[in-house]
């Protein structure tokens, strides 16, 4: 374990230190991300389409066996051949044997991740067949002897200069073109002749329609069209998860895939291929005799997929339509690229799940820790694949197989650390910052350069219960009340009541954030109680430890449902806690007796982010805060989990309530710390580099930096040397009472 960690740390450092990679990735990633954002609009309701795409994939995978049978019928009706390949070796053997039997000398090939998965090129070359990748990016990769580093843009890690050098060497050109256009034209001319002489074309497919036997191929270059239409033999290699029931469903996917992948409304070409080509078989007089008969072979690959379809926790990896949007939103991927954060061949967080399913746990272990579970990918996934949860489940399975490290067990117990640290605060803070402590932590795999959190002498709970005005008895005595609407909506009937979810870090490290929230709510006439909750479970879940947090979730369901029953809404100060309550409790409990417990719905409906809740009160006309005029500027960093919950704008909107204040939101991804991620030795440099991009943007502005997350706060304070406030602290500071 430690050995693999050290290797990974080295590879991460090498990627971070590689100026060419950094330049290539920085430009390309920002462009792709922005294009997708810009394309996320139009006459259609894209969020509704995402929900439909998800439901359609769920149906398609549930009916996968039956659809495969139907597809086989349809393909053979059209005189095509369908071959079921159980393993990668079966698939490559079938295709290589076919090539040998037909005397194929040259295969033209379009981009296909599935062919990378089975190492088709190597198998064909071993059979004495020349294979030519025809997608520009894939051709670059092939000439360089590398593997793709991105699902959609395979050579994204290369700069134009790399390509010029590569073409000069491999194509033996003394004076290669220096612009992208000339380089592209060179490949067009070089490959055009090869298209005309190839005996076999191999493609993948984006979707395969069972009811008609139609292959659907989405592309921009036109190479897939030539690959499938020109050679006498067309072989399509597809994973069995690509089968969809109906042609009518295609519109949903075609609205989503290009927008998500490249920010296009539609790619230049979408081919719907049914049976063999109707076009004349052209003969361009190549080197030898070409087969005179058209043939179509559809190779449907299993290689772990049907086992995945039976695995309720990992099944949704099969819903991936390989648009790559998740990669473009992934902070670690954007910095190190798919050769470090990727398996063979699937890159990024979704790639780790695919590696696990197609190759096994050992291979998946390499990259599993690189998913910070920030969830920015789930925001953009067109089929709403919960990639962080897939990685969490894999982490738990790896833990079960390999054992849980001491470091991971420590990070899982922020609740205990908080209680112990708080009790011993002055000593703990001193020891935590000492050189021997740093050495001890290094031995555990914790980065010695990190400042450990400092503990407050009086916790939020201790402060709250010592307040004379606290009216705890009243809320306890109040019997259960109907809770059809949120408390904020019932303000006309009486003062709303809020139960603050007590998170471990606010309670023990930053009680001032909780105190600020209490002040703001009370100034607005809202009665506040503290929930007697357990840890939300986020820190443990992040370590792939799911047993303990399941227990805490049960306690919290009980306590929060009780409070909601008494007319309270639950308000979280830390968005990472909220995302547990609102999204991940369902996942955590789905394999238990509590899977259908209606308290999960109740808590999802009645839990709020503090900024969200105050804005909701305001929209109901129920928020009247006496606020001072401030000439301050607030520079806001958006919290990843807040964004993944669709609440990205709430801190900004809340701060705009302060008269005179100007609010700037910086466009950035993650802060890089993400709970314990940045504390782990092997990821420390990456965490700092991710943070660096954010710090640059934040420090471009004067003013008070705002962050809703407790770990964002410590990362930004360390990186910028400037103080950071929670939005509710800024609001409390503006209160006139």
């Amino acid at each position: 374990m430690a050995r693999a960690g050290a290797d990974l740390a080295e590879r991460i450092q090498k990627a971070l230190d590689d100026p060419v990679l950094q330049k290539a990735m920085r430009n390309a990633m920002a462009t792709l991300y922005q294009r997708r954002t810009a394309a996320w609009s139009g006459d259609v309701d894209l969020e509704d389409l995402r929900a439909r795409a998800r439901a359609l994939k769920e149906e398609a995978i549930a009916r996968n066996d039956e659809l495969l049978d139907l597809l086989e019928e349809r393909v053979s009706e059209r005189s095509g051949h369908l071959y079921r390949a159980a393993t990668a070796a079966d698939a490559t053997a079938y295709i290589a044997d076919l090539a040998r039997a037909r005397g194929v000398r040259t295969v033209v090939k379009s981009k296909s991740m599935t062919s990378e998965e089975v190492h088709l090129n190597a198998a064909l070359e071993a059979a004495g067949v020349e294979v030519l990748e025809t997608d520009l990016g894939e051709r670059i990769i092939q000439l360089a002897g590398e593997r793709p580093s991105h699902l959609v843009v395979p050579a994204i890690h290369k700069t134009k200069e790399d390509v010029i050098r590569l073409f000069a060497e491999t194509m033996k050109i003394a004076d290669p073109p220096t612009e992208a256009e000339g380089l592209t034209r060179l490949v067009r001319e070089d490959l055009r002749a090869r298209f005309l002489e190839a005996e076999m074309g191999v493609t993948g497919a984006n979707f395969v329609v069972a009811e008609t036997g139609t292959l659907v191929l989405v592309e921009n270059e036109g190479n897939i069209r030539l690959t499938s239409q020109l050679p006498p033999i067309h072989v399509a290699l597809v994973g069995r998860e690509k089968i969809i029931p109906r042609l009518a469903d295609l519109a949903v996917y075609l609205e989503l895939l290009p927008r998500s992948g490249t920010g296009q409304l539609l790619t230049s070409y979408v081919s719907l291929i049914t049976g063999t080509p109707s076009t004349d078989l052209l003969d361009f007089g190549g080197a030898g005799e070409r087969p005179r008969e058209r043939e179509f072979h559809l190779v449907v690959l299993d290689n772990g997929r049907s086992a995945a379809a039976r695995d309720p926790e990992l099944r949704e990896a099969l819903y991936c339509i390989r648009c790559g949007a998740c990669l473009n939103a992934c902070a670690p991927y954007r910095l190190v690229g798919g050769h470090v954060y990727g398996g063979d061949p699937y890159p990024g967080g979704i790639g780790c799940a695919w590696t696990y399913l197609t190759q096994g746990a050992e291979e998946a272990k390499q990259t599993n820790g690189l998913c910070t579970t920030c969830a920015r990918c789930t925001e953009v996934c067109p089929t709403k694949v919960d990639i962080p949860w897939l990685n969490t489940v894999i982490k738990e399975r790896l833990n079960r197989k390999l054992g849980v490290g001491l470091r991971e067990r420590v990070f899982a117990r922020t609740d205990l650390l908080g209680r112990a640290g708080g009790a011993l605060a002055p000593v703990a803070n001193k020891v935590g910052g000492s050189a021997p402590a740093a050495r001890a932590l290094e031995r555990m795999g914790i980065d010695g350069g990190r400042q450990l959190p400092t503990y407050a002498r009086r916790s939020l709970e201790a402060w709250f219960s010592a307040r004379p005005e606290a009216d705890k008895a009243a809320i306890r005595a109040a019997g259960p009340t109907p809770t059809a609407t949120s408390s904020a909506e019932r303000t006309a009937a009486g003062a709303p009541r809020v139960a603050l979810f007590v998170d471990c870090f606010v309670n023990h490290n930053l009680p001032q954030v909780g105190q600020a929230a209490v002040r703001v709510f009370e100034a607005a006439g809202v009665q506040v109680v503290l929930a007697h909750n357990s840890c939300c479970g986020r820190p443990a879940v992040s370590q792939g430890i799911l047993g303990l947090p399941r227990g805490w979730a049960v306690t919290n369901l009980e306590e929060l449902a009780r409070l909601i029953g008494q007319g309270c809404d639950v308000v979280c100060l830390e968005p990472s806690c909220l995302s547990m309550l609102r999204e991940d409790y369902r996942r955590l409990l789905e394999a238990t007796d509590l899977a259908d417990d209606r308290r999960i719905d109740l808590i999802e409906e009645h839990s709020y982010d503090v900024s969200e809740y105050l804005l909701l009160m305001r929209s109901r006309g129920a928020l009247h805060l006496p606020l001072a005029h401030l000439d301050d500027t607030f520079v806001v960093h958006g919290h990843c989990h807040q964004k993944s919950l669709g609440l990205g704008s709430v801190p900004v909107d809340l701060l705009r309530l302060i008269p005179g204040a100007s609010v700037v939101e910086v466009e950035a991804l993650c802060c890089g710390l993400v709970g314990s991620f940045g504390y782990k030795k092997e990821y420390a440099a990456l965490s700092t580099a991710i943070g660096g991009q954010l710090f640059e943007k934040l420090t471009a502005h004067e003013g008070t930096i705002i962050a809703s997350g407790i770990s964002c706060r410590s990362q930004i304070q360390l990186g910028t040397g400037r103080p950071v406030l929670h939005p509710v602290e800024a609001l409390a500071a503006a209160l006139l009472v």
């Binding site: 290539a24 430009n27 390309a28 462009t31 792709l32 006459d43 259609v44 059209r78 025809t134 520009l136 990016g137 670059i140 843009v153 050579a155 700069t159 134009k160 390509v163 992208a180 380089l183 592209t184 490949v187 067009r188 055009r192 005309l196 008609t212 921009n220 270059e221 036109g222 190479n223 069209r225 030539l226 499938s228 239409q229 020109l230 009518a248 295609l250 519109a251 075609l254 609205e255 490249t262 296009q264 409304l265 539609l266 790619t267 230049s268 070409y269 979408v270 081919s271 719907l272 291929i273 049914t274 049976g275 063999t276 080509p277 109707s278 076009t279 004349d280 052209l282 003969d283 361009f284």
Partner: protein, 185 residues
């Protein structure tokens, strides 16, 4: 809600937005307009369903030929494809929201005409323009039913951004896409 521009206008804007060149014409002036879009010299291949357009083009000094293997032609279709400078095809349907045209498998070699030569001229009838992809797809299916082969939705010329995300037109497909919309009389 503001009034939506007429469907034709939206189609033209969207198609130009993705790099296609768009002209409109009356049915009578179609050969004239197509001839004006073609290079001064070089072979133009025309889809068999619109063979009469090939004749009209020939009378306008265009070297035009129907894309079928034929004993009357002095060269094989393969050789003709090799030197063709443009392919002219009819379309099944067009999509206003994305500027897309669909070429079907029914007329033989339409797909190759829209893939191999450096220029593709697509003829769209105004009545065949639909609002959205969701409305156009069933038409593609219906109009290519019973024919094997490739139906293709075409949105702008062939393109790539594989080198540093720089957009380049004309990778393996046509460098230039012309769409001629035939207006209703």
């Amino acid at each position: 809600m503001t009034a939506r521009p007429p469907i034709l206008q939206r189609f033209i804007e969207a198609a130009r937005g993705v790099g296609a060149c768009v002209e409109t014409t009356s049915p009578a002036a179609l050969p004239e307009v197509v001839a004006g879009l073609l290079p001064a010299r070089g072979l133009v291949l025309v889809a068999p369903e619109i063979a009469d357009l090939a004749d009209s083009l020939s009378t306008r000094d265009v070297e035009a030929r129907v894309a079928l293997e034929s004993s009357q032609a002095h060269e094989s279709l393969s050789r003709a494809f090799r030197r063709a400078v443009a392919g002219v095809t009819p379309t099944l349907v067009a999509v206003a929201s994305s500027g897309t045209v669909a070429v079907g498998p029914s007329g033989r070699n339409g797909g190759l005409l829209a893939a191999l030569p450096p220029q593709h001229v697509a003829i769209v009838h105004e009545r065949d323009i639909r609002d959205s992809l969701a409305e156009a797809l069933p038409v593609v299916v219906e109009r290519s039913a019973g024919s094997e082969g490739e139906a293709v939705l075409i949105t702008g010329p062939s393109r790539t951004a594989d080198i540093e995300m720089m957009s380049v037109l004309g990778v393996h497909g046509p460098l230039r896409l012309d769409i001629v919309v035939v207006l209703e009389d």
